[in-house]
């Protein structure tokens, strides 16, 4: 089972002690352990089981304004001695950087709230197999489904973050994840789609049958796609794609991109970057939240931030190093956002589909087509043509393109937000994008 707090704390304090002895003026350490067990099914049969037991340690040492770090999966004291010695030695030989330092002491988290992130339940492989049997039987009901691959993972993790300023805290988290990938075939085409559910608590996981059926339905409806012509058209992003646009926004307001000058949102705080009705929140204290946490990866307390208020950018995501560079205080976002989401819009999903006589509903994008330096966006896409609120036929082999600066100002959100991932968006419509097809 996952290592307890005492073991991790002992390793952490050993490292801090040794680093100090070897000449580090400040240091920090993270020790973690994660045990996960996965069972995979394929076409209603057991395909793979996988157990992983991962230990990891990462240590950063400072000598004045010099800094270096090491990481390892080998936690034997012998090995740690060699590595810490190497780390301190490297630190001495690394040039100074005036912004290097541990976080300000008064910003560190003072208390660790119980955010209900750990479920002690252990699900045996046989129970996982029962879940997957039910899932796959629902997924392969329709004759058009020719392949099913499903997976169930239980993960239990524990960590300790400690630094030479006396900070020492950590806690256990758990996750239970089920997924199903199905392939459907007809005379003209073969298509793949998926469905997925991940929760902190086993009892909250989606019903196996529902999940399998949903994966299959979403795959079958993609069969016999058409390619459409190139034109300017309103795009509706399914929630699972819309969340990616929000993630791109988050990378563009990270203090590292801002301080390096490599973001199209540099110097945009207190300026309007979205349409009036748009609010973006990052809320770390949601009970059982997939992105919930008490402090960031430097130990800095994380409070809820309203990143965008009625279209106006209010905050960057700030860590200690880049904060000092920008003359701003860390807001506990080293390592990124927690539970990030767009607040609901005020139109239903149905009304959003109906709002244009013709639009494209996108369910999948491929390619790495987001450029946060310029804001340019161009990706391959799969989806459906929507006419007067109805899905007409599936579409593929097209691209959609635009620039985030314009796209953000043309967003309309539906009121169907749910917390399925750590970053979430309601269904999103963006007008004025270009589709390239035939």
């Amino acid at each position: 089972m996952v290592k307890d707090q005492e073991f991790l704390e002992k390793k952490a304090s050993y490292c801090l002690g040794l680093a100090k002895k070897l000449g580090a003026t400040e240091s920090s350490v993270i020790v973690n352990n994660s045990v996960s067990e996965t069972v995979n099914f394929r076409n209603k049969k057991l395909d793979e089981s996988n157990r992983s037991d991962d230990l990891g340690i990462s240590i950063t040492t400072y000598i004045g304004k010099k800094k270096s770090s090491i990481s390892s999966s080998n936690l034997l004291d012998d090995n740690l001695n060699i590595l810490i010695e190497k780390c301190v030695e490297t630190t001495k030989n690394t040039p100074e950087d005036e912004f290097n330092s541990l976080p300000d002491k008064d910003l560190l988290a003072k208390e660790v709230k119980d955010l209900d992130l750990y479920d002690d339940t252990h699900i045996e492989n046989d129970q996982k197999i029962d879940y997957l049997k039910k899932l796959e039987s629902a997924a392969s009901n329709d004759k058009k489904i020719v392949n099913t691959e499903s997976s169930f993972t239980q993960n239990k993790s524990n960590f300790i973050l400690a630094n030479s300023e006396g900070f020492c805290a950590g806690y256990k988290t758990s996750s239970f994840t089920a997924s199903s990938v199905t392939v459907a075939k007809d005379e003209k085409s073969m298509e793949r789609d998926y469905e997925y559910s991940s929760k902190c608590f086993l009892k909250d996981l989606d019903d196996a049958g529902e999940l399998g059926k949903q994966a299959a339905d979403q795959t079958i409806r993609k069969l016999s796609p058409k390619k459409i012509g190139s034109e300017k058209i309103a795009i509706i992003f399914d929630k699972r794609i819309a969340k990616g646009i929000l993630s791109t926004f988050a990378s563009a307001i990270s203090s590292s991109a801002i301080s390096r000058g490599t973001s199209f949102l540099k110097d945009k705080v207190n300026q309007k970057i979205f349409s009036d009705k748009i609010n973006v929140l990052d809320k770390p204290d949601i009970l059982k939240g997939l992105g919930s946490r008490n402090f960031d990866s430097e130990g800095v307390k994380t409070d809820t931030l309203k990143l965008v208020d009625q279209g106006i950018l209010k905050h960057y995501l700030i860590d200690t190093y880049n904060g000092k560079k920008l003359n701003l205080k860390s807001n506990g976002r080293c390592g990124g956002t927690s539970n990030l989401y767009f607040e609901n819009g005020n139109i239903s999903f149905k009304d959003l589909l109906n709002s244009k006589s013709k639009s494209l509903y996108i369910t999948e994008t491929i390619g790495h087509g987001s450029n946060i330096v310029t804001g340019d966006y161009s990706v391959g896409a799969t989806g459906f043509l929507v006419e007067n609120g109805e899905f007409k036929y599936p579409i593929n082999e097209i691209t959609i393109a635009g620039n985030f600066k314009d796209m953000f100002k043309n967003i309309t959100l539906a009121n169907d937000l749910e917390f399925k991932y750590s970053t979430n968006s309601p269904t999103m419509m963006i007008e004025g994008m270009v589709v390239a097809g035939k």
Binding site: D47, S73, N74, G367, T382, I398
Partner: protein
């Protein structure tokens, strides 16, 4: 070579006994041990931003019965840990009645030297070069607003112990040197990125101020992009330059020819063996045996020596890439393509250096043959949906072609095509095959492995360009 049992309460013979006992009625399986050391030294924003070192040790124990794979990995090389893994594998496979396949081909060939690139150059020397890179670039162009340069070095020792105690080992060096610049002019920002690397020492790539040519290339790409105009949208002819643009081959057909997707019949290519899948004159190989290349391997991660596998010969589909599991189930032999990111992951059939071989036309002839289209010189990355066969890649340097002449540079756009049909649209194959500079990483099922690509210039009759200009 690492001695994995030196500091452990587990002796090699005890480990061999546990392995043989666990695998006795399985069809295949092994204990995979790995010790890797890696470093990253990063210059960014005029400063050495990061100097870090990682040492990773662990094992992965695999047992296979028919189609079922049981896997367990841990960082603790100890008696209790290996026994727990063994119990875990046995509990998954329950009643096994296979016959262990002891056969594994042997070879004495090695495609890289047993070196540790990290130790071959001191930290101070590496920092000195990074600072020189920064100064060199910033003094070259006043529009430079950001320079990032980094060294990545690694030495990975692997040992594979099979049932019966047969042991195979390999020590794999790998380095990479990258430079990225951002230019700003009249409020517009553009970046250019270039890098080199492979399985040799840093100095093999950087000696005699060779790093300057890496800087020049990154700066050249950024400068071109600063003058770029919006890319066109729609179907048109596309000329691809030689070398790195071969990630088109990697995405469009490479992934679809991996054994697992074809055994499972989820690849768009699964029923096309022996059929014409490309224009005449198109030959594609996947080669793990080229000296010191990023995608080369002396043995794969199951211990099979790598080879040069012909995938498509003169337009006809000849072979898939196989690991041992998929080869057995498809009644063929492993092509030495079984790879894993590290001991945390199961083996999958993967590409090594995927190459389209030269034809006999020139790039000039291709450009002249295009009335309206684009000339793509460099790409950022790509992705494929192997089931529908649709793939994309993102241009980082491209130009429009108007009436047989290269015109203005165009903004980065995504190109999209259909894997099984794209190679039939290849109407000219150049005589200028080139390897990529040694920077590619391929992702599959959450695992990244180093790969190479190569191709000559090619002309594709029809592809969709995802620009914004209608």
């Amino acid at each position: 070579m690492s001695n994995f049992f030196k500091k452990s309460d587990l002796s090699r013979s005890e480990a061999e006994n546990i392995i043989s006992d666990t695998l006795q009625k399985c069809d295949d399986g092994e204990l995979y041990l790995e010790n890797s050391k890696s470093e990253s030294i990063l210059l960014d924003d005029n400063k050495i931003k990061n100097s870090s070192y990682n040492s990773d040790l662990g094992f992965g124990f695999r047992a296979i019965s028919d189609e079922v794979v049981a896997y367990s990995h841990s960082n603790e090389i100890s008696k209790s840990s290996l026994k727990q893994s063994s119990e875990n594998l046995k509990s998954t496979l329950k009643s096994v009645k296979g016959t262990y396949n002891h056969e594994i081909p042997k070879s004495n060939k090695k495609y890289y030297e047993n070196i540790n690139p990290i130790e071959q150059k001191s930290l101070n020397e590496k920092i000195k070069i990074l600072n020189e890179v920064n100064n060199y670039l910033r003094s070259k162009d006043d529009n430079i607003k950001q320079v990032t340069a980094n060294f990545l070095g690694e030495q990975k020792s692997v040992e594979i112990i099979r049932s019966g105690g047969e042991t195979l080992t390999d020590v794999r060096p790998l380095i990479r040197f990258n430079v990225s610049v951002m230019l700003e002019k009249n409020g517009r920002k553009e970046t250019g990125v270039y890098g080199v690397g492979g399985r040799q020492s840093y100095d093999s790539y950087l000696k005699d101020d060779n790093w300057k040519s890496v800087c020049d290339e990154a700066l050249r790409i950024a400068s071109v992009n600063l003058e770029s105009k919006p890319a066109p949208a729609g179907e048109m002819k596309v000329v691809l330059g030689p070398g790195w643009p071969a990630i088109l081959i990697h995405e469009a057909v490479g992934h679809g020819l991996e054994g697992d997707f074809n055994r499972k019949k989820t690849s768009a290519f699964h029923n096309l063996m022996g059929q014409k899948v490309a224009s005449e004159g198109v030959t594609i190989v996947d080669d793990g045996t080229i000296d010191n290349r990023r995608g080369s391997l002396t043995i794969d991660d199951e211990g099979t020596p790598t080879e040069k596998t012909v995938l498509i010969e003169n337009g006809i589909l000849k072979n898939f890439m196989q690991d041992r599991l998929n080869a057995r189930l498809m009644k063929t032999k492993s092509t030495g393509s079984g790879r894993r990111e590290n001991y945390r992951h199961i083996v999958l059939p993967r590409m090594r250096n995927t190459m389209m071989l030269s034809g006999n036309q020139t790039q000039d002839e291709m450009i002249k043959a295009v009335d309206k289209g684009i000339f793509a010189v460099s790409f950022g990355g790509g992705q494929v949906d192997i089931t529908s066969g649709k793939f994309v890649f993102n241009c980082t340097e491209a130009y429009e072609i108007v009436n047989g002449k290269i015109g203005s540079p165009i903004k980065g756009a995504t190109l999209i095509g259909d894997g099984p049909s794209i190679l039939k649209e290849v109407s000219m194959v150049g005589n200028d095959m080139m390897m990529d500079p040694g920077i590619g990483t391929c992702g599959k099922a959450g695992q990244g492995v180093p790969v190479g690509v190569a191709q000559p210039s090619i002309l594709i009759n029809k592809m969709t360009v995802g620009g914004t200009k209608l």
